[in-house]
Amino acid sequence: MNIDSIQNGYVIDHIHAGRSMELYRYLKLDQLDCSVAIIKNVKSQRMGKKDIIKIDQLISVDWEMLGYIDPDVTVNVIKDGKRVEKKQLEMPDQVINVMKCKNPRCITQTEQELDQIFFLADREKRVYRCHYCETAYKRG
C-alpha cells in the first residue's frame, strides 16, 4: 500500500491498533482540507499491530490531551519533507471537559455547566479520577 510522504505536517505513529478513529475525532481531522491518511493494523515489532495517522498540514494540536487518549504514540513533525522533531507524549496531570464522570451520585450529573475535571491518580496504571467524587474513569 503506497501513501505519499508528506511535506509539512505530522506523522502520528505507534497508535494502539483500533484507536486511530478516536484520535481522528478528537483532532477534528474531518474538518481539514489537507490530505489525511489513516493507516490501520500496520505490523509492528514492538506492538504487534499499530495504527498511523499522517496529516499533510502543521495544524495546532493540544498534545497533552493527545497524551491522555494514547500516551504511547509518538509524533513526528515534518517540515520541508524532513523530520525535524520527534515528540514523546505524556499523560497530562489534569484533563478538563474531555470525558464525563459516570458516577450517578456525582455532582457533575446534575450541576449545569460544571467543568468535567479529572486528575491523574496513578501514572503507572493510567488511572484518572473525577476531581469531585474521585471515581475512576473507565473507557468505553
Partner: protein, 305 residues
C-alpha cells in the same frame, strides 16, 4: 481565596493537632470563647437530613457568640426551583461569613467552593466524604485512647457508601503503625480508590466478613449503618441491612480497652444493651463533635479567643 474544608487531607496533621488542642481548651474554659464570633454568621445549607452535624454546627456557632441562618432540607430552598448549587452558595455568601454544607451529590461542596468567596465546610457529600465527622472521630480516639498511632482500627458495616469511613481512613493513614481491619460484606467493601491509597501509602489492612473473627484484636471498633438512601435498589438494601449487629455476646469477645464508636444515627447495628458498656463511646463522640466544630469555625474565620 478563602480557606475551605472539603476533604480531611486539606488539613495537615499539625493543624489537626492544633484543632484538637483548641477543642480541649474550649471544653475546659468555654467562657473564654463565648464572644469571639460576635457579629459573625454561619449558614447551614443542608440539602439532606441531619440531626447531629447540623445542630452541632449551629450550637458551636452560638456558643462562640455568633449567629446562624440556613435551611435543613432542600425542599425549603430554591433548589426545588432548579437553582444550581453554585448559584445557591453565591447567594448565601452575600449573607453569611462561612457556610457548612451537606449535599447528597458527591463533590457538591467542591463545586460550590470553586465559586464561593467565603469558607465552605463539607458537612457530608453523598457517600464520599465527611471531614468534620473525622475531626470528631480523631478527637474521640485521642481522648479515649490517649494516642492516634499504634492502633488496630476495625471499620465495620457499609464501607462502600460510608463517607465517615472514607474520611477517617484517609486521616488515619497518616499516623504511625495503624492497621485497618475492614469488616463488610463483599458488596459493601471499601471503594477501589481507598484500597489503592492504602497500598500506595503502605498501610497495613485486612478485609474480612465476620466481625466475631476479629473483634478480639481491635483497639477501636467503628460501626456504621447500612444506609438505605445510598441504594438505588431496595432489594439490595433489605438483603444487606442486617449484616452486622454488635451485641453483648460479641462485646464479650472484645478487649477490655476496646473503644466502640459510631457516627450515628444507628438503626439496629448496635444493640441498646451495649449502651451501658463503658467501652461504648458513641454518645461522648457526639459531644466532642460540637467542640471540634467550634475550633474549626475559629480556624477558618481566623478568629482568636
Amino acid at each position: 481565596m478563602p480557606r475551605h474544608l472539603l476533604n480531611i487531607t486539606d488539613l495537615s496533621m499539625e493543624e489537626i493537632d492544633e484543632l484538637m488542642d483548641q477543642a480541649d481548651d474550649i471544653m475546659k474554659t468555654p467562657e473564654k470563647y463565648q464572644d469571639c464570633m460576635r457579629h459573625k454568621k454561619l449558614a447551614t445549607l443542608f440539602f439532606e437530613p441531619s440531626t447531629r452535624t447540623r445542630l452541632s454546627f449551629e450550637a458551636a456557632m452560638m456558643e462562640l457568640g455568633g449567629n446562624v441562618l440556613g435551611f435543613s432540607e432542600a425542599s425549603s430552598s430554591s433548589a426545588t426551583k432548579g437553582e444550581s448549587v453554585c448559584d445557591t452558595v453565591r447567594t448565601v455568601a452575600c449573607y453569611a461569613d462561612i457556610i457548612a454544607m451537606r449535599h447528597p451529590k458527591e463533590g457538591a461542596p467542591m463545586a460550590a467552593a470553586s465559586v464561593c468567596p467565603v469558607p465552605i465546610i463539607n458537612a457530608g457529600d453523598g457517600g464520599h466524604n465527611h471531614p468534620t465527622q473525622t475531626l470528631t472521630d480523631l478527637l474521640t480516639i485521642r481522648k479515649e485512647k490517649g494516642r492516634l498511632n499504634q492502633l488496630v482500627v476495625g471499620l465495620c458495616g457499609d464501607l462502600q457508601f460510608g463517607r465517615t469511613v472514607h474520611s477517617l481512613m484517609s486521616a488515619m493513614c497518616r499516623y504511625k503503625s495503624i492497621r485497618f481491619v475492614l469488616i463488610s460484606p463483599k458488596e459493601l467493601s471499601v471503594p477501589e480508590y481507598l484500597r489503592e491509597n492504602l497500598q500506595r501509602d503502605k498501610v497495613s489492612f485486612t478485609e474480612v466478613e465476620r466481625l466475631e473473627d476479629v473483634i478480639g484484636t481491635l483497639d477501636i471498633l467503628y460501626m456504621t449503618r447500612v444506609q438505605r438512601e445510598r441504594f438505588f435498589n431496595e432489594a439490595d438494601y433489605v438483603r444487606l441491612k442486617d449484616s452486622y449487629i454488635l451485641d453483648t455476646e460479641k462485646m464479650a469477645m472484645a478487649r477490655k480497652d476496646l473503644c466502640v464508636m459510631h457516627p450515628l444515627p444507628r438503626v439496629n447495628e448496635i444493640s441498646r444493651s451495649v449502651d451501658s458498656d463503658p467501652r461504648a463511646c458513641y454518645f461522648k463522640q457526639m459531644l466532642y463533635g460540637k467542640f471540634i466544630r467550634e475550633a474549626l469555625l475559629m480556624k477558618l474565620l481566623e478568629v482568636k479567643a
